[in-house]
Symmetry: C2
Subunit: 476 residues, 2 copies
């Protein structure tokens, strides 16, 4: 009964996807609302996901030569204003500090919404010669954007992220790094989070404030909405000119640097929930899962059961493994494992011990596999690998089944209205058409994918000659 | 010459300790000033120290059952005011956010100077029953205190730290955790940073705003000044009463929880510099050092030298090892290794290769050891261990040589004035005497050490019966 109650306590996806999402976030104990409006509390289960994301990304960054630094959290107003497009993009949504202790500040400062201006200010002094380049810096921190509507992990006034900021001698080096980091993000999402992504470039309308080009990875959630999951920006020498970041080259001539920035945030946790979750709760890919294997003893008061559970835990110590030896019923524990998304459950009771076996239960498919205790290690390893691979495959299949093509405007409008998912359609390159599409359908251009296909010769909106194929969709 | 110039570029400790400190911080490229007053930029070499401190402490916390979480960075004014002593302690030194985007906030919020109020607000909802206890939460974040005077790592308006916040069923459990974490901090300082510390309790005058008891570890810097290096607070049920944090016990009665908090900050990096550094720059203990071994090829253009350096790097891959194959001279590289505090330098040139040997040079003692290439791995391991142990021993000897005893006030005043270091002296327990000592000598009570000794029967200041022996000293 307790089991049923626990499961019943979340709304089904079909019924109300938004409510399902909030229920999972709460019941899997990932986060809680705080009394600070628009800000969340990351509870241990939620923060552990971020820690694992952080460790893995950090390792991948460092393998490409990136070093971590830490910049101040405050930006003086005059510094924020130095680059014109940038300030226009961010000034309306920052939090302003006006007093320090009992005194009013001479100049107010905002809490960083992003740190381009701080890095530029630093680079202007730190970079002198071509020998100082490239600078490949990253920081892990929290940033603040004064959002009106907020949703757990997806949009909050304060969120955790990493922001990489690099400076290069040439435009080519900057472009190469921009693409390199986008690909790193995409590979990370696919390998580690089991989330397939579309890699592409943002239209000018959707690009970052102050960037020459913004590249993005776009993932499709279970409800058919898109989620921008990571972005990488090429600034050219725009910021360098605004902040005077110059170096002397080998011929002793002064040159402006070329810069990039790239970021991923805690919204990735939202993506994991909405790509993999089901009506029993969270489903975590094994590489991400803070606990990969939960051992549930059956009839644990019987002699030898808890001892065997502990022995199994030792045997499986190569994995992130726990034993649930609490005084709850096995049924409650099963439901709890499911709610929390633990990839593999191991059931072990007196009968299993007698038969020298255990029952493994996959979270993603619920498949039960009886294995001999003699080969449980290799079986667990195999199964975790298999789950990781199949979760990515399933998500890819789901995305393919929800990716449509529209050749004309009627088809486009109909698809967006009736078929949740991505719509691939041609575009002339004019913002007017993007605006009209958004107004008519609420879909936005997600990206111009690197893998271009030719669907027709003309823009789906205006009928003029098309310049590129675009992924469109409703988005979080 | 280049070598000399690099070394000459820092002030000697004898001449001006404060300037020496600033020089080391700058020349070892640990940090830089930013254009945000009172805030610093952590450069890669400085942040790498913090990362290593963080990884090691985090592992030790988790081994005691602590889980990481993340609370919002803002505290509404009404929340900060909930506990009387606490708000009095912090309100004068916080940064206030008054505007979000273009609108004035209905209630201003401060940027957290510490997060007791946020954790309490969270616990008030999250804790219901004795089954929910203990809560052993920690967060890694930055905090802001509007300091007037700032110094790199030691005191800045924004600094990085961890803050643990726990809630317990009983007063005994809270006290036990408070002491456990203090001992964890002390062991960490000694094992990992090679910094010996005095463990003790703060006087009421020096304790944390809102705490029943504050415990501290105090380290002695090379110049004889003390540095408070970590604190652990027992709040009793004071915050629980102010915030209404109650649980139902096994008899179904409502009880208040008992709480603790404990923190360590980036000032530890300042401690490492000031305990171990010398006139050639930083000296890092091997366990902390981001790079433990630097291989410097001699006559690197000669055939086979760079190849052998690379081979050695592979051979030493169990350590954090690098090769400096830049086009600088060996002399410059030696000085650079010293400035950056790299524990062990490996010199390898054509003659060494011929003799199947390399020259190892210790940073701390400058001792040169010629070793056969066949046993270089074991030799490096031995030496790094030895350096770690001897650095702690040297620091302990320095502290013992700079710890004095004063039996009467004249002796006390004379010692503080003429002998930099700790002064052990008896105290009656009255704040009046603490105040008088501070006024007369600028020394403050550092702690009442756990290891009490009886120096005399009477207070060093007023001559009344003494209650405890206190470590006194000038402090950062």
């Amino acid at each position: 009964m307790a089991e049923k109650k626990l499961v019943e306590s979340i709304t089904s996806m079909q019924e109300d996807f938004a409510q399902w999402y909030t229920d999972v976030v709460k019941k899997a104990q990932l986060m809680d609302y705080s009394s600070v409006k628009g800000c969340m509390v990351f509870k241990p289960a939620g923060y552990a996901l971020w820690e694992n994301i952080q460790n893995e990304l950090d390792k991948r960054f460092k393998a490409t030569g990136v070093e971590n630094v830490y910049m101040p959290m405050f930006i003086p107003e005059s510094l924020l204003q130095r680059e014109k497009d940038h300030v226009e993009g961010f000034a309306p949504e920052v939090a302003w500090v006006t007093h320090g202790g009992l005194n009013e500040l001479q100049e107010r400062m905002c809490v960083r919404p992003t740190s381009e201006t701080l890095f530029c200010d630093f680079y202007a002094n730190d970079i002198q010669s071509y020998r100082d380049l490239p600078k490949l810096y990253n920081q892990w921190c929290s940033v603040v954007r004064w959002e009106k509507e907020t949703r757990p992990f997806l949009r909050s006034r304060e969120f955790l992220w990493q922001e990489g900021h690099t400076a290069h001698a040439t435009a080519e080096d900057a472009e190469e790094r921009t693409i390199q980091m986008l690909n790193l993000y995409a590979d990370f999402c696919e390998d580690f989070l089991a989330i397939p992504v579309v890699r592409g470039r943002k239209t000018d309308k959707e690009k970052f404030a102050g960037a020459e080009a913004t590249y993005t990875i776009e993932a499709l959630m279970h409800d058919g909405k898109a989620l921008q999951s990571g972005t990488s920006h090429n600034f050219g020498d725009g910021f360098a000119k605004a902040f005077g970041i110059q170096y002397t080259d080998k011929e002793n001539k002064l040159q402006y640097v070329h810069q990039t920035s790239w970021g991923m945030t805690t919204r990735l946790i939202g993506a994991v929930i909405m790509v993999h979750g089901d009506d029993s709760g969270l489903v975590l890919p094994p590489r991400l899962a803070p606990c990969q294997v939960m051992i549930v003893p059956i009839m644990q008061k019987k002699e030898g059961v808890l001892e065997m559970a502990a022995k199994l835990k030792d045997k499986l110590s190569n994995f992130r493994v726990k034993v649930d030896d609490s005084d709850k019923s096995p049924g409650w524990k099963f439901a709890d494992c499911e709610m929390r998304g633990i990839p593999l459950r191991v059931e072990i009771g007196p009968k299993d011990i007698e038969a020298n076996q255990a029952v493994l239960v996959r979270r993603d498919t619920r498949e039960k596999i009886v294995v001999s205790l003699d080969e449980i290690e290799t079986k667990v390893l195999e199964l975790l690998d298999k789950i990781q691979v199949e979760m990515l495959e399933r998500a890819r299949t789901h995305r393919e089944e929800h990716t449509f093509v529209a050749e004309n405007f009627d088809e486009f409008v109909d698809t967006v209205a009736n078929k949740p998912g991505f719509v691939k359609a041609m575009w002339c390159g004019e913002q007017e058409c993007e605006d009209k599409i958004k107004e008519t359908t609420t879909a936005t251009s997600r990206c111009m994918p690197f893998n271009q296909e030719k669907i027709s010769d003309v823009c789906v909106c205006c009928g003029k000659p098309a310049k590129s194929m675009v992924y469109w969709g409703k988005a979080y």
